[in-house]
Subunit: 262 residues, 5 copies
């Protein structure tokens, strides 16, 4: 049976993953305009929204807050991460083991890989170990597949994003989280390159409602299974409204215009 067949993080073949690892990856300044959202409880509350099929956080947030939300939230334990204080060659060390993710009640695990960087080989090897351990426990594996490095002039070039999804397939991920390659056609190519890996669009930094929802609409039309979103939800004044809108676009096939003007 396919690892995604019975997971609650995919519903009707679709996923909306709320990601909240910004406290580690970006630091509290990412919350400058919405300081109350530094409180993980607020974001856990958002994750109880029906549209959210998975909530991706680091171990520390999961062990503290997840016990209160285990019935209403599907946990994706993000297993590696780094701070933005660090200026080294792109690399993301492991911050949580698969075994501990299981103890935390995780429904899936997430792992960042930076193909093209000096430490690509190390990250491939670490991903191998994580992936194989997850397989032993039938735990789906999402790869945050973000090519970087000297040889890459542009991280969002169509070829690069298609390569990113293909690497996820070749290395045994079930879900590939990638950036938008600038056009729907390029997104469709990246979906093709992924074989039957589920591709989810990485939400990126906050944009206005129409721009954001149009992007999601285009990506869905290109064949992605959904998106992973953080700042475009929790940096907004009304996060529930945007989750309602995403639900309509991702699960009900609505257009951005229908949602915003309807």
């Amino acid at each position: 049976m396919h690892p995604l067949d019975e997971t609650p993080i995919v519903q009707d073949g679709k996923s909306i993953i709320l990601a909240h690892d910004h406290g580690l990856e970006h630091g509290p300044t990412a919350f400058a305009d919405v300081p109350e959202r530094l409180d993980p409880e607020r974001i856990f509350e958002m994750a109880t929204h029906d549209a959210v099929t998975g909530f991706a956080v680091q171990k520390g947030l999961a062990e503290t807050y997840y016990p209160s939300y285990a019935d209403d939230v599907n946990l994706i334990a993000k297993l590696n991460g780094t701070s933005s204080l660090w200026m080294g060659e792109p690399y993301s060390p492991q911050t949580c083991s698969v075994e501990y993710a299981l103890e935390l009640g995780a429904d899936a695990v997430g792992y960042t890989v930076y193909p093209g960087t000096n430490r690509e080989p190390e990250m491939f090897e670490e991903f191998r170990s994580v992936q194989e351990t997850a397989r032993e426990h039938d735990l789906p594996v999402a790869m945050w597949s973000y090519p970087r490095g000297q040889a890459l002039k542009e991280q969002r070039k169509p070829d690069v994003i298609a390569y990113a999804t293909r690497i996820a397939l070749e290395l045994g991920a079930d879900i590939a989280k990638v950036k938008y390659p600038r056009s729907g056609d390029a997104m469709a190519d990246a979906v093709d390159a992924a074989g039957d890996v589920n591709v989810v669009l990485s939400g990126g930094s906050k944009t206005d409602d129409r721009a954001f929802l149009s992007l999601v609409e285009t990506a869905m039309n290109a064949g992605v299974c959904g998106l992973a979103v953080g700042r475009n939800v929790w940096q907004r004044d009304e996060p529930e409204r945007v989750l309602d809108a995403l639900e309509a676009v991702v699960f009900d096939g609505a257009t951005a215009d229908e949602v915003l003007d309807g």
Copy 2:
């Protein structure tokens, strides 16, 4: 149950941690003015003071002297450390395993992490292993969270200290020991960023009574749970007097003025 719910190192939600790892971190010259305090027994005696909820030392001191003080002192085994003779990139190697800390009778473990340095990834990975092993034994974990490195112009910048406490939360620490970010407001922001991690103020180098106790008072008002103190206790002529004063400020909510002038 939360790892801090039943630990003796937190009492009424407050902690005063006496730290005595200066023999390793700074060397005997730190004791130049109080040479008799090089004798670990003297400091163990201080740690029996009622105000002290935990005593943080390296393994060597614990195995030699703790057996005589196990009834009167709560041990925090400091699990990594380095000498000041060493001129390398900031890094703190592990000097004691969690398992051995348990054999020594530790009530909690402490681990230094330097976010922002070249070896941040290694330290995050080592912290992971320590934290997960400690969890298996219900041992609380304190992170000495000290951002450093090329990119940091100032180690005590408010943003940096808030990032330091947040890293402790994200990586699964129970207690975050951080430096003072220069104002009570910034301290409060760092406490907010920590979620429900207990923040303790790092005492730092010796200052006069009023400056020191006012700092503690301000930090307590900003929401910290207490402090970790070393040189401001054992470098003083009358360490018991300052412990009495700290007890009043931390546990009884006294002001520095009340304690010094009252």
Copy 3:
């Protein structure tokens, strides 16, 4: 008993290995002219051709698609690989364990080694571990033996290719996959240097039918046991026709001319 005596990837002492790791090693741009071949199912279909004695893919393709083809395809799990986005010193990190290859139903494993590069020692050590684990399970081991590095002016020099096959013998491989050393005599020398290791010719980039089949014919006459082929099959308009032709040359001893003109 010799590890190759009973393996289905060698038949009548001959092998045609279809390799399809280009999605990882070269990226989707390798499929620019035949975009539908990015779909692994198409290539798995090709691998069901009678002439194909083994199909070499990365773990991700095997776990997703092999279950449907297990009766008709013999799986060679390629256990290491890297992306062409990566600009580092030649090296190929392990992406799949031998144990997991067994779970996937592999009939053999493949491992790339780059003798002559800065990381030759690491790759020899990793090959050792893979080889010994494979031996425990009677799994044949194919070495992709590709000398590179500063000291090598030409990777296809006769001496270099003979050294490549010898290294496969000395380190305990059962099959050595090497590039063509520019002449049949040199190929024969490389076969001699291999002892009783099975040498297979690496197909390389796509050439026209006659050039390709003549090369295979020459190599067979020089004593190789067959070839490993990828782009010369799946980049062609009619992959089955070239597989038919290869079958005739490799298994039936036909000449290129007979096959093409007959």
Copy 4:
């Protein structure tokens, strides 16, 4: 119970450790004037002298010669070492495991650490592992504590030697072997800094009888527990005479003058 309470290498609180690792650390040229002393049997014979409480050698000498001397000599297995042919950054790799030392019948283990060097962190971590394994087997641990490195202008500076003994205490050694810090007062400070770790003076290169014994007398008066001696014994014409003299100074409190002139 303290690890030193029952060990034969400390007698009446005193130790004379004969060290014979010069074959590895200095090479055969150290024996140029006494070539017959290259024969380990000669030195094992010396180690049977009543004054010698422990004999420190590398594994190879222990496994070959110790079986014949097990009744008359207490073995200190030196667990790391390097050759003087090696020009790298000061570091001493492990040459014997604690477990194998036990099989050899060791009564204690010795480990060199170079605080202040680039590889201090590695050596602290390796010492941790050695120390904790030794504790499991109640085997006393002696640290050869030799600060070095770029930041150290003088290896024998009083502050440096006091730091050296303190590091031994903090990291959990039972015995600290250090160089002489140029005065009895500085030696006494180093003894103070060591807490209840036994400090032994490192004998150093060969000097004349009076200089050597006076140094030992001064160190004993400063509170050291004895000395570790190599070249000042086995490079002498009459090693037994100097061992007799050391016995008088270390165990019987004789002065150098009494011994030499008496």
Copy 5:
């Protein structure tokens, strides 16, 4: 009991080790003048000569050919090696585990160490692990002890070769294979420095019969236990004749002149 007491690779206290790792260490070009000797079977045949007490090869040759020769040849599994294509700092990675050597039926193991090179520490640590595992199985250990590195102006200097044999003793080898230090006296010094380790002369590159046998005669007179020989046997037209001659010199005490002129 001494590891060499019952091993067949030492007979009457003497050893002639035929080494055939040149396929890996030097590559097929070493066989340019005798191409048929690339066939390992030819060399295995030579190893059946009565004079040969041990045959040293890499794992790949042993697993393929040794089963047919197990009754007539004593196997020394060479456990590390590197190619001459590699231009890095001298280092020899492990290519076979001790455990696998045992499965291959090895009577002893061989390991190369390069004292004085940048990676001396790593090689000492790896030798430790090999040596201790071999001890568990009573398998004799031969060290190919070859000092190299920046500090060594001449690899064959008498002091250097004596240091080489001493390192073998100190680290726990049973046999030390070293180069000839240019005179019989220096060879004798190296034998003295080795304690009771068996010293064998490394045969080196091919020379004429008289030069070669005279060298062996001189070395035997200096106290070595025999030699390890490769090219001086298998690069000759009549390898059996030179083996007959070596038998006479090593086992029967004949002089080179007696053998050649007699």
